[in-house]
């Protein structure tokens, strides 16, 4: 249902560097043309009703209906709806200003959903700003337990704090530390690492995002991501779970980061993700001349041409 848009598809021109096109031809094979076409269309907007503040979601949904805004429930995510109408300035409504709902990109919520935190958990969101995933984690935890939301960027911390406040989150503390050597007084039983990346996956929303793309940026990000994931894993208690995610497509920032963890931490193993969502792809098990650990097929790839969502990579890891 969510794949079929009622909107007229407006085609945008997108810029993809030649080197990146060559890379995508390897990754996508026969679906390459389909992938390129999907990059030219914008993903639908979605809203997530904030259950912390809005006990009765019909208040928001009735308002949308009164404005002739059509929407459909997105499967698997709590109180998340795809907007089917052309709308502008939905962020200027009283309901949005009061924090009753937020405007989200669907793919970005899925890592928090996969982590599936409970009321009793102590959770670390290692690179949290601007806070959309943190807020969703807090919602899933019914504002109980404890979340430590960390980010290295002091300016983005201010946005994070504001967003948490606006959504009524009371179970979160915010720290401003470098994730590479972040430490705390305790280990965590769940950790979300939505790593800084080259953002190839948001091309549908920002069609010139790749104008400054270069291979060195990818490799530089991969070095950072490998350091982050090793530290994140060390912060995990035994039997704890870590979800690693990015909004980029390059295997150097995804499967190869997981491989780095598996090679350096023998107690790490990849868990299967059970997501009832149409069009998901498995993680890659090989790329160019490299073979990856076969358990990487349990990671998830979200591709726009198969799901009508923004590209994402998600992997769930357990500490044995």
């Amino acid at each position: 249902m969510y794949k079929n848009s009622k909107l007229d598809i407006e085609k945008n021109e997108v810029f993809i560097p030649e080197k990146l096109k060559d890379k995508y031809k390897i990754i996508f094979g026969n679906s390459y043309d389909e992938f390129i076409e999907s990059c030219k269309t914008r993903p639908k907007k979605a809203i997530r009703i904030n259950k912390i503040k809005c006990v009765d979601s019909s208040l928001v949904l009735e308002y949308l209906k009164s404005q002739n805004i059509e929407f459909t429930k997105f499967p698997i995510l709590e109180e998340t709806y795809l907007i089917e109408s052309n709308v502008s300035a939905i962020g200027n409504t009283i309901e949005h200003l009061a924090g009753l709902f937020s405007i989200q990109e669907i793919s970005s919520l899925i890592p928090a959903h996969v982590l599936d935190p409970k009321e009793d958990d102590i959770v670390l969101d290692l690179t949290a700003a601007p806070g959309n995933k943190t807020i969703y984690l807090a919602q899933l935890m019914n504002n109980k337990g404890l979340i430590v939301a960390n980010d290295v960027d002091k300016d983005r911390i201010k946005t994070l704090i504001y967003n948490l406040k606006k959504q009524g989150v009371t179970n979160t503390i915010v720290t401003n530390k470098n994730g590479i050597n972040f430490n705390f007084n305790c280990k965590f039983n769940k950790i979300l690492l939505d790593a800084p990346c080259s953002c190839e996956g948001i091309i549908r929303r920002k069609n010139d995002i790749l104008k400054t793309w270069n291979e060195n940026e990818v490799l530089g990000k991969a070095i950072l991501q490998k350091k982050l994931i090793i530290n994140a894993f060390n912060l995990l208690e035994t039997s704890g779970q870590l979800v690693y995610s990015t909004c980029t497509i390059s295997p150097e920032e995804n499967e190869e980061v997981i491989m780095h963890l598996l090679e350096n931490e023998p107690s790490a193993s990849i868990e299967k993700i059970n997501l009832k969502l149409e069009g998901l792809s498995n993680g890659l098990t090989n790329y160019k001349n490299k073979n990856y650990n076969s358990s990487l097929k349990n990671a998830i790839r979200i591709f726009p041409h198969k799901t009508n969502l923004e590209a994402f990579f998600i992997c769930k890891i357990k500490k044995n």
């Binding site: 809005c54 009765d56 300035a89 406040k165 503390i173």
Partner: protein, 161 residues
């Protein structure tokens, strides 16, 4: 040594909880699950369960926020409008106004409102009132001279609709 956040003294905590009860009717039991912290004159609520177990290092210079700010200045009982939105309307017994949509829009645009134009209200005295719209709390407003209401906002949005 620098310490940005501190656990709020019990005496002040009890005073604030009593104020919330006497001013708005918010049941004191509501706060049993929260720890109170302060930073300068602001007061914050943090879900209590793991505060002690985790032993948050309040002396950590890189600790930037703890829970949700509910008082912007506890010495003046100045509420944080966004923070007060965590309460539910059924908890509020007095000192509130219920706005219609047009009035709620004016509120977010930081426009003054006349109390006699508000149909549904329960006001005991001047001071900060809770603002309700469509059965949820959208902030706080200050009543002066029993007649004029001044929005207590941390941001203004002139494009609200």
């Amino acid at each position: 040594m620098f310490q940005k956040f501190q656990v709020l003294e019990n005496k002040i905590k009890d005073k604030l909880i009593s104020h919330l009860f006497s001013r708005y009717g918010i049941d004191k039991q509501y706060f049993k699950d929260y720890e109170f912290y302060k930073h300068e004159n602001s007061v914050y609520l943090l879900s209590k369960k793991y505060c002690k177990a985790v032993n948050i290092n309040l002396k950590d210079k890189q600790l930037f926020n703890v829970g949700l700010e509910i008082f912007a200045d506890y010495k003046k009982y100045l509420p944080s409008s966004i923070g007060f939105e965590i309460f539910k309307t059924k908890q509020i017994k007095q000192n509130f106004v219920v706005l219609d949509r047009g009035q709620a829009i004016s509120y977010f645009q930081n426009k003054e409102l006349e109390v006699n134009k508000i149909k549904e209200k329960n006001i005991l005295s001047d001071g900060y009132l809770i603002v309700i719209y469509n059965n949820y709390i959208i902030g706080t407003i200050e009543l002066k001279n029993k007649s004029t209401l001044f929005p207590n906002l941390s941001f203004v949005n002139y494009d609200v609709k």
